[in-house]
């Protein structure tokens, strides 16, 4: 099953991908690792630098890359790439 999600890139991930926001076709359900792999296919430069230092946020909830749970995505869902935080 194919759905179109809205991917948001922040901070270093926006610099590396060259975009802040894009629509992306993904199969659903999908686990976090496969979602990340899909983003890497789109933006290979993300891999080198952020691998191991990034989490995703799906519908405003953090999801670790190695989380095995299958995510059921719907059209328009927000997926965000979250590099290490540095607020405050």
């Amino acid at each position: 099953f194919n759905t179109r999600v809205c991917v948001l890139y922040f901070a270093k991930s926006a610099e590396l991908s060259g975009v802040r926001e894009e629509l992306l076709q993904v199969d659903t359900p999908i686990n976090s690792q496969d979602l990340w792999t899909r983003l890497l296919g789109q933006h290979p430069r993300l891999l080198r630098v952020l691998q191991g230092h990034v989490v995703l946020a799906v519908r405003h909830q953090y999801v670790a890359i190695d989380d095995q749970e299958a995510l059921t995505l719907r059209d328009g869902d927000e997926v965000a790439v979250v590099p290490p935080l540095s607020g405050g």
């Binding site: 948001l8 270093k12 946020a57 405003h60 979250v82 290490p84 935080l85 540095s86």
Partner: protein, 155 residues
């Protein structure tokens, strides 16, 4: 607009007030936001960029960005946890800068009001720990030569 004001509604015990702003933060505004006739103690924290903070050169300022709707939801969740631990807390307020912040200007002002001092002071420590650990805000240091590097919170 430049200012995102996110009043999250009142819990039984008090208000949670979050604001992301491209303008200078006002300590007075944050104090006023947590002021309460029934609360004797206001604990407040101001975080400011230090001069000569980096090894990569002289820092002239910081560039902040945030995932704004998730800042709101994460701060709300953080406040729920604080209120579960310290049920007497009255009001909680966090103002955070976005965009360009010059060295010496505050990037965050946070405050908690409480009937008793120790509750508020402890809750404020956890509020800032939680802010740094979980709230999606990023900064990069910008140096004299205009180079920049994204920072990472140690905590």
């Amino acid at each position: 607009g430049c200012v995102t004001s996110l009043p999250l509604g009142a819990s039984k015990k008090g208000r949670d007030i979050f604001k992301l702003s491209h303008h200078r933060l006002s300590v007075e505004d944050v104090v006023a936001a947590v002021g309460s006739a029934s609360c004797g103690a206001i604990s407040l924290f101001i975080g400011t960029t230090r001069e000569d903070q980096s090894e990569s050169g002289k820092v002239i300022g910081l560039e902040y960005e945030a995932y704004e709707p998730m800042v709101q939801s994460e701060l709300a969740e953080l406040c729920r946890r604080l209120r579960a631990r310290w049920p007497d807390l009255a009001h909680i307020c966090v103002h955070h800068r976005l965009g360009w912040v010059r060295v010496g200007e505050a990037s965050v002002v946070a405050a908690v009001s409480s009937p008793h001092r120790h509750d508020g002071q402890r809750a404020l420590v956890c509020l800032l720990d939680g802010l740094k650990a979980n709230v999606p805000v990023w900064k990069k240091e910008v140096y004299e030569d205009r180079k920049a590097s994204w920072k990472e919170n140690a905590e």
